[in-house]
């Protein structure tokens, strides 16, 4: 187990370096340069040249790349061209908003999707099953931004229950009021997926011999379902939730734009528009790290659900 953990942790380093390299190249392939964008339409060519030099953009690409890697390995993500602030603290400042949002969406999708899928499977082909599966199909195919706008129209404008924009102070309880609508919008697709996967994997397990044995030995139906069926059905469900974390981080970009939440997604979009190279690189690396870590944790939880899975 220990060697497995160590190996997985070490594997993260080349993964993240690879991601860092790809972002480095892609953002530089995009036409337009930060100095021109920052100085605007009426800057003199001399001012642009001077700024490029200060930004280090006049150096050959391999030198820029070498310096970037060298600093990255020391944990230095550089400074933003636009705000001149250090990249990492800027990311850390925006991170809680995105983590709260993605976390709340995962929680919602489990709280709603899991029971809905289970009940659908146990009460297969009943009215509940039909309705919940159609609802899941509907949720899964709805574009995120549209769902967000619908929620805003209903809960903020019609009912006036929740604030429409912003995020409040992430450390206070007030942030919850701001979190509800965006997390509901973001939870739409994963809830549907969790419900459908839970349903199909429960249906598969429920037919197995050991379930018949459990019932035959006189276990209460609730215990059969909760203890034996659910536990065995959790592996594919966990995989889906884990994979969805990545999509949620991507989806939070859209939701943050719609709800004007000051999270990582908004930071990333702004820095891409400004060709703020270091800020883009740093933000993408942090988002990628989150994804890698979540996947790692998901892999670890498999052994909790199925003791036969042991990591060597």
């Amino acid at each position: 187990m220990k060697t497995y953990l160590l190996r997985r942790l070490l594997m993260m380093i080349p993964t993240l370096l690879g991601i860092g390299t790809v972002v480095f190249i892609i953002i530089r392939l995009a036409p337009g340069n930060p100095a021109e964008i920052l100085l605007g339409d009426y800057a003199t060519p001399e001012a642009v040249a001077l700024l490029k030099e200060k930004m280090g953009l006049d150096r050959p690409l391999y030198q820029q790349y070498g310096l970037y890697l060298w600093h990255l390995l020391q944990g230095d993500f550089g400074r933003s061209y636009v705000t001149n602030r250090l990249v990492l603290p800027e990311i850390i400042r925006h991170l809680p908003y995105t983590l709260e949002l993605a976390g709340a969406a995962v929680l919602l999708s489990i709280l709603i999707g899991l029971p809905a899928g289970m009940v659908s499977a146990v009460k297969r082909d009943t009215l509940f099953d039909r309705i919940s599966m159609v609802a899941a199909l509907f949720l899964a195919s709805m574009p995120l931004f549209w769902l967000g706008i619908l929620l805003m129209l209903f809960f903020s404008i019609k009912l006036g229950w929740f604030p429409l924009i912003g995020a409040g102070d992430p450390a206070s309880i007030d942030a919850l009021r701001y979190l509800i609508l965006p997390s509901m919008a973001l939870a739409g697709t994963p809830t549907a997926l969790v419900a459908r996967i839970t349903r199909s994997s429960v249906l598969e397990i429920i037919e197995q011999d050991f379930i018949k044995v459990a019932r035959a030995k006189g276990l209460e139906e609730n215990r059969v379902v909760l203890k034996h069926v659910l536990k065995n059905a959790m592996i594919p469900v966990t995989t889906v939730i884990g994979l969805n974390m990545g999509q949620l981080l991507g989806g939070s970009v859209v939701i943050e734009m719609v709800f004007a939440r000051p999270g990582l997604g908004k930071l990333l979009i702004d820095s891409i528009h400004g060709r703020d190279y270091f800020q883009v690189q740093g933000t993408v690396i942090i988002i990628a790290s989150l994804f890698v870590v979540v996947n790692f944790l998901v892999d670890l939880t498999y052994s909790l659900f199925d003791p036969r899975i042991r990591y060597q």
């Binding site: 995009a30 036409p31 337009g32 340069n33 021109e36 964008i37 920052l38 100085l39 605007g40 339409d41 009426y42 800057a43 003199t44 060519p45 001399e46 001012a47 642009v48 001077l50 700024l51 200060k54 636009v82 705000t83 001149n84 800027e90 400042r93 925006h94 706008i149 805003m152 129209l153 903020s156 404008i157 006036g160 229950w161 929740f162 604030p163 429409l164 924009i165 912003g166 995020a167 009021r177 509800i180 734009m257 719609v258 709800f259 004007a260 000051p262 999270g263 908004k266 930071l267 702004d270 528009h273 400004g274 060709r275």
Partner: protein, 516 residues
């Protein structure tokens, strides 16, 4: 009645759950109370810096216009200047020396002392200094010397007369004319951009990146304390969201570019749609140095083939003015007495045939992803197709657009600009010395260089007006650009907001504003 311990615990838990549910729902249902005179304005995007010498974005200007003052300010109902930090000025007969008397007793925000002539000298020289790397260094390139001639008097010497000099010293875009505090900038250094010190009606309080900028009233403002206590600027990029935030009351004012969204709000119970004159021009620039657009007949054919009425009434719902040329009808020197190009596809075809393109040609337009431009260009494409011109549309985001439009091989560029009202500002972009790279003369036109120079230096109003009349006539013949329309400022404002008018430079002048 005997109640078991388990039952007690169960009852307690139920009561607890009920209390929590009740209190949270009451909490959530209580609308966040907005204190009176607390205005929220959407500035649409994050800015770059609140340092007047550094930023180029409209979003920063919207905030800075309320923090800083300059020597002059535009009147709210016209494009005339009124004194602001300057109380009066004298110009020497040769038009090269300006002497300004300054307002006395003006206090810098947050205890940075009194405003004096030294601050003016410092501000202008700071923009000029290459070390500052100001994008506006060009604006004061003609200033030879700034001299403090008294505590409240400053003299500026120009290399040559400059008709637009006073407008350069005004609160407007570009922001170079905003006066900063010498003491504050020296002390704060680069930090001045994130904690600006001005003399305006509102004092900077805090900025939370991508969330808000908060200003509070300056009770010591020299024209009196503002009625608003607090202004919060929020960056909502999505216009649909912004409009919903106005409906819900979270935001009071926003500018809207997608004018089609406005129809729903024309007769709204809580919101007003207001428009304002905007010195702006949206046009297709044609590369006059490359075939086929190096042929004037082709350019004239383009003008005949494009139906601007259809664009203005169809796509822009009438929220734009019909142009006769690059110079806006409300600009100094405007004349309507120029050659016109009414929609006439037949004439366009004839001209194309005369130019040697009887079957038309293929071309491409470079377009920024902005407002309604994609829809406008799709309509233009359909109109041009009728005369045989096959125009491809390349939609680009800002960084890519800036690069693509300056390329030598680029034939057509959709371009828009909002500038101060003097015609010289827009005409500079048609001088051959400002051809790309480094300049915005994207049509690489050189037909009115002499007149542009004369116009910028002529101090006699009547003569100057004549010069710009001549410029418009020549450009109407040469057609370096097909001017599509002059957009208006289109804003949605909560009906409780009083005393608000559209600021003509695209900012928000909130000193006279209050909330009912």
């Amino acid at each position: 009645m005997i109640v078991s311990r388990g039952e007690k615990v169960r009852r307690f838990m139920v009561m607890l759950a009920l209390t929590v549910c009740f209190s949270t729902s009451v909490y959530f249902l209580t609308e966040s109370a907005v204190t009176a005179q607390d205005l929220v304005v959407n500035r649409k995007a994050e800015g770059i810096s609140l340092d007047p010498a550094k930023t180029t974005t409209m979003e920063d200007y919207m905030v800075m216009g309320n923090i800083f003052s300059s020597l002059f300010r535009f009147k709210t109902d016209s494009f005339d200047l009124r004194p602001d930090l300057a109380t009066e000025y004298r110009v020497s007969p040769d038009g090269k020396t300006y002497t300004f008397k300054l307002r006395q007793g003006v206090k810098w925000h947050k205890g940075y002392g009194e405003f004096t002539a030294e601050d003016v000298e410092f501000s202008i020289n700071r923009v000029k200094n290459p070390e500052t790397k100001s994008p506006y260094a060009r604006n004061f390139a003609n200033v030879a010397k700034v001299e403090v001639t008294g505590k409240y008097e400053v003299k500026m010497e120009l290399k040559q007369p400059e008709a637009t000099f006073l407008q350069n010293l005004t609160v407007t875009r570009p922001c170079s004319g905003l006066i900063v505090s010498k003491q504050a900038v020296t002390k704060l250094g680069d930090g001045h951009g994130s904690q600006p010190i001005g003399t305006g009606p509102f004092v900077f309080q805090e900025a939370v990146p991508r969330e808000k900028i908060v200003l509070v009233a300056n009770p010591d403002y020299y024209e009196g304390a503002p009625k608003l206590k607090r202004i919060t600027f929020v960056p909502i990029a999505d216009e649909t969201t912004a409009l919903m935030a106005l409906e819900s009351g979270d935001v009071h004012i926003t500018q809207i570019e997608n004018v089609r969204l406005l129809q729903k709000y024309q007769n709204h119970e809580k919101l007003n749609v207001i428009t304002g004159p905007r010195i702006s021009v949206h046009m297709i620039l044609m590369n006059t140095k490359r075939p086929p657009f190096n042929n004037v007949k082709v350019r004239q054919a383009m003008a005949y083939a494009i139906n601007t009425d259809e664009i203005i009434n169809g796509i822009l719902s009438g929220f734009a003015d019909k142009p006769t040329g690059v110079i806006h009808p409300q600009m100094f020197g405007y004349t309507a007495d120029v050659q016109r190009y009414p929609y006439d596809p037949q004439k366009a075809k004839t001209l194309l045939a005369e130019a040697g393109y009887p079957n038309g040609f293929k071309t491409k337009v470079v377009v920024l992803i902005y407002g309604q431009w994609q829809k406008v260009m799709e309509l233009v494409k359909a109109q041009l197709a009728k005369v045989g011109i096959d125009m491809a549309i390349q939609m680009l985001e800002r960084g890519a657009y800036v690069q693509a439009r300056a390329q030598e091989t680029t034939e057509l560029v959709m371009f828009g600009v909002s500038l101060p009202p003097d015609p010289d500002f827009v005409m500079r972009d048609f001088h051959s010395k400002n051809a790309p790279p480094g300049g915005l003369n994207l049509s690489r036109y050189s037909g009115v260089d002499d007149l542009i120079e004369m116009g910028s230096q002529e101090m006699d109003k009547a003569k100057r007006s004549q010069i710009y009349g001549e410029i418009q006539k020549r450009m109407a013949q040469d057609v370096p650009a097909v001017v599509l329309y002059h957009p208006k400022w289109t804003q949605v404002v909560n009906k409780r907001v009083r005393g608000y008018t559209v600021e003509r430079m695209g900012g928000f002048w909130l000193f006279p504003v209050s909330i009912d």
